[in-house]
């Protein structure tokens, strides 16, 4: 057995204006989960401690919470792996959500973002006109099984730094779920879906891979890249800065072998978009110039840059 001190966030929106913390010591088996430690605290010490849980085995998706500052499923996190040197584990509600009671949060923004996707199949013809089942080859299905494992636990959403500064961003789970329908051969709304998710700021993902902590290996970080490639392939909403940025990076690498910083800024914001450029660069631009830090205007191609061009051509990489 081991003694663990749970450092708990306590708050009840019905009565409290500010949260407080409780330090509760429990005795649990060496290899127990954070969820079991919480259950012990609730059963033996304070029955009012609130948290969501159902399956206790990483299936239902209800027990996501912040454990020592990093969101994870409490039922999939072993105390041994997270306990600090002083014997404590800090437990808080998921970040990026409004707390309701202790670890229970208001999930509405997360569900709203799903709802916007129309997360159901929208085939060409009506089911009533369709005599046999809609067939999918194993290869086509393979692309979808990982995403279909999403248990909507919102771990990824809670970890996403972009959601934390811009609530309009769809977030990792919704984009991964959009992918699930975009790549479904039975679905007839591919381009509408890509346009919709682009409008919900697909391209605002900061490539931080925090969502790679997904407990079900959905890897939303990789699915987001898949959706972006689909957008470029189908040429949907190509005038946004996101796709322009990706393509101009691709172009400068093809031309010089390097990522030419100045060219990338001009190509993304728009060479003739003076207002946009001033907004994006000022006052950073002049400040950097003052310190001799502005990137060079022209980047000298690397030696044997032809080889790089050969690679781009062999793979038919789009550059515009």
């Amino acid at each position: 057995m081991a003694k663990i001190k749970l450092d708990l966030f306590r708050f009840d929106e019905a009565v409290d204006t500010v949260p407080h913390r409780d330090l509760i010591e429990v005795e649990v088996p060496e290899a127990t989960t954070v969820l079991d430690a919480l259950e012990t605290a609730k059963a033996e010490i304070d029955g009012s401690i609130s948290f969501r849980r159902s399956c206790r085995s990483a299936i239902c998706g209800s027990c996501s919470m912040s454990i020592n500052g990093v969101t994870a499923l409490a039922c999939k996190t072993n105390c041994r792996d997270v306990v600090k040197d002083d014997g404590t584990i800090a437990v808080d509600p998921m970040q990026n959500f409004q707390p309701m009671k202790d670890m229970v949060v208001h999930m509405d923004p997360f569900w709203d973002k799903y709802a916007r996707l129309k997360p159901y199949l929208q085939p060409k013809d009506k089911d009533s006109e369709h005599e046999i089942e809609r067939r999918v080859s194993p290869d086509d299905m393979k692309k979808l099984v990982d995403v279909a494992n999403c248990i909507m636990c919102a771990t990824c959403y809670s970890l996403c730094p972009v959601v934390s500064v811009d609530p309009a961003f769809a977030g990792p789970a919704a984009i991964a779920y959009a992918y699930r329908f975009i790549e479904d051969v039975r679905d007839a709304k591919r381009d509408e879906r890509i346009a919709q998710i682009s409008e919900d700021y697909l391209w605002l993902c900061a490539h931080c891979y925090a969502c790679s902590y997904c407990p079900k290996h959905v890897e939303p970080n990789n699915r987001i890249v898949d959706v972006k490639r689909a957008a470029i392939k189908d040429r949907v909403m190509m005038n946004e800065r996101g796709p322009r940025h990706a393509l101009v990076v691709s172009k400068t690498i093809k031309q010089t072998g390097m990522l030419a910083e100045t060219e990338v800024i001009l190509g993304t914001v728009g060479r003739f978009n003076v207002v946009g450029l001033i907004k994006a660069l000022a006052p950073l631009g002049p400040r950097m110039a003052l310190r001799g830090k502005q990137p060079p205007v022209f980047v000298k191609p690397i030696p044997k840059v032809d080889e790089v061009r050969t690679i781009f051509e062999a793979l038919e990489v789009p550059v515009s």
């Binding site: 990076v249 691709s250 390097m258 840059v305």
Partner: protein, 316 residues
Amino acid sequence: MSATLLPEERPLDAHRASRSRETKRYGFFPGCVAKESCKELFNSTMLLADKLGIELIELTAASCCGASVVNDVNRDVARVLNARTYAQAEALGLDDVITICSTCTGHMRAANKELLESEERMDQANAILGKFGAKYSGGVMVRHLLWMLIDDVGLDNLRSMVVRPLNGLKVAPFYGCHIIRPENVNGWESARNPHSLEDLIEALGGEAVDYAGKTRCCGFHVQLEKDGIATNMVGQNMRMAKDNGAEAVITPCPLCHLALDGYQQDAGARWGRTDLPTFHLPQLVAYALGVAPEKLGLNKHLVSPREIMVQRELIS
């Protein structure tokens, strides 16, 4: 805490021995930003290598690693570009490539992992490299300078080489993302609870400041997509560092550096002024090992470290 991965998820080369460790000759991939807007990073790395008595052999014909961005356009190109770089290292007899940019580290390692794990992808890459007579046979490992310092030089050794300790300077480590995540690509230390930078700061005589923002993103890669996003991400993280007592920040990545150093001033409007000077990793190590501070390009930073360094009697 080690990486929270199942054994079969560990990257194949996580702790492989390399020849370079014996010969002290390493392949060196500086990356674009260290050659363009962060030249002070390149220069201080070279000065540090001198102090350490190691040779960094720059792969001068290497291309950009593709950052995280060319993946958005094509799924294969970054992998093949990097295979070309590894082929160049192999041709020079080098099996260990050192990087000084987190984004390079993460994406070059991802490419290498994809190549080493699949014969099909390796063949695809070599079919293209073959067009100009190159070949990659899978013998290269990519590491960040930070890992090399800890694994090959060693913290104890570093501690004994310190001639100018940091006098208790309170330094907030900023890991950012790509040097720790995804864990199945990097896997050198736990992404959720890393401590290499803390260990290094303490070995140099500084005091490491803990804060929740240390493994969060700076927003660099979306600075151009929508105004204000990166600024807010920087402000949020620097606020946490400052509130926990930080006097300066250290980062292993020039992109993080551009964002942290460049956006703090603008972030002040919403997050309150933080003004934390941000050091490139090799700048602070080189300083402690005795490289003259004037040579480190500290005057290139937008948030000047001068005041705090004088206060801590690090410079006069």
